[in-house]
């Protein structure tokens, strides 16, 4: 039954939809968390310490996220391959017929934006999570102690250093713009895939999906831009 549910054309979309929405939730929290930096370095570092300090629960969430990523990516690739197989010869000229079509640059490029986001995520983990002061990379320079407490990881310092580089700041910004594109189609599409779409609210969901995508992406831009232009 599960094989049928997840292996079929409906199932594939179900998997991408569910995992997609899960990842959206994660990304949204991540974005809000990042904004802690605006409350000062200490708040930011304590927030980071709070998360890693949760221990087994934190690892469980991480494992879940990893699984979501893997399923999301695998089905996404399957769909992209299926698409090539279903139309090996393309059109000489092709254009959208316009509304009610929801075909956009965003919807057409899900596999491309998705792949870039994947590469980015790996790189992002290496530079932050597994960066100086991170697991397996003890570096006392990236530890800080507040009010005589135990030293904790100085994430804020790492973030400040990284985003001082224009390459890093603008590269990150560019990827976040792609994330906006990915979520522009993704959020709405996930809800349609889950079969949850009530016709009367379809337009609303499409708009909300777009706003949510844009909001998340833009939210991520505050930290790097503020840092790069020395605003905080």
């Amino acid at each position: 039954m599960l094989k049928k549910l997840f292996g079929s054309p409906v199932g594939k979309k179900l998997v991408t939809g569910i995992t997609g929405l899960g990842l959206v939730g994660f990304v949204l929290l991540h974005m809000v968390g990042n904004l802690a930096l605006f409350s000062g370095d200490q708040a930011y570092n304590e927030y980071s310490e709070f998360l890693t300090g949760m221990g087994p629960l934190f690892y469980l969430v991480e494992a879940g996220l990893l699984a979501f990523f893997v399923f999301h990516i695998v089905t996404g690739i399957k769909i992209a391959i299926g698409k090539r197989r279903a139309r090996p010869v393309g059109y000489d000229r092709y254009q959208s017929a316009g509304a009610p079509s929801r075909q956009t640059a965003a919807s057409r490029s899900m596999i491309v934006t998705g792949m870039i986001l994947l590469v980015f995520t790996v790189f992002h983990l290496i530079s932050f999570k597994f960066g100086p002061g991170g697991p397996g990379n003890d570096d006392v320079a990236y530890l800080v102690a507040y009010d005589g407490g135990e030293p904790i990881r100085n994430m804020a310092l790492l973030v400040r250093e990284r985003f001082a580089s224009p390459l890093y700041a603008f590269g990150y910004t560019a990827v976040m713009l792609l994330l906006i594109l990915h979520l522009r189609h993704g959020v709405w599409s996930a809800l349609q895939s889950l079969g949850a779409m009530k016709p009367s609210i379809s337009g609303l969901v499409y708009t909300v999906g777009g706003l949510l995508g844009a909001g998340t992406g833009i939210g991520f831009l505050f930290v790097p831009m503020a840092l790069y232009f020395n605003l905080i």
């Binding site: 049928k4 199932g11 139309r87 092709y94 929801r102 895939s193």
Partner: protein, 247 residues
Amino acid sequence: MQIKLKVWRQKGPRDTGRFEEYVVPDANPHMSFLELLDVLNEQLIMEGKDPVEFDHDCREGICGSCGVVVDGVAHGPQQRTACCQLHMRHYKDGDSIVVEPWRASAFPIIRDLVVDRSAFDRIIGAGGYVSVSTGAAPDANAIPIPKVVVDEAFDYAACIGCGACVAACPNASASLFTAAKISHLALLPQGQAERAQRVVNMVDQMEAEGFGDCSNHAECEAVCPKGISIKGIATMRREYIKATLSQ
């Protein structure tokens, strides 16, 4: 008015095919797009060339035989219109038009603009019916059906099976076609007995025919001559999930 045409020519399924360009010097704004092709063909025959083969029959937008991609849009620029009812008044003197067949591996090209859409028949055969043999029916008014329900069922039943949804879909998915029949029958009391089995079998057949997956571009709805809504695809998925979980 003068119209230039760039038309896909392909002698058979194994031929590689190519575009050829033609000029129709005296098109009339009142003629339909297919009548333009008729005029072109009369010209080609008298020049000793093979006319362009294309499927067509009722020429009033209901049989679903015709269907070509006109300037990159299935059935051409006028929405809710099959290309047999696309009139040349939408064009002006000197325009050029690119004409291509439906492209999908599940719709192999037979010749020029003619494609094989028998995959659709097999999807219907997998469950797109109510199993009621002739003579077994109760009185027509025995089961009242609310007007709103039957109206919605009709919106789906209006599908003409032309294949534009597949042609326009960036993934060449047949989800709108399949969903339309599933939604039509799922709404009606007559369709309940086979409801679960129907959706599972039809979706499986759709996959077996080699159509792509739906990525919710909704391009299908925009080119559908009957304007069938992708909310049917949401219904199909709901039905499928319910059916699979209850199996």
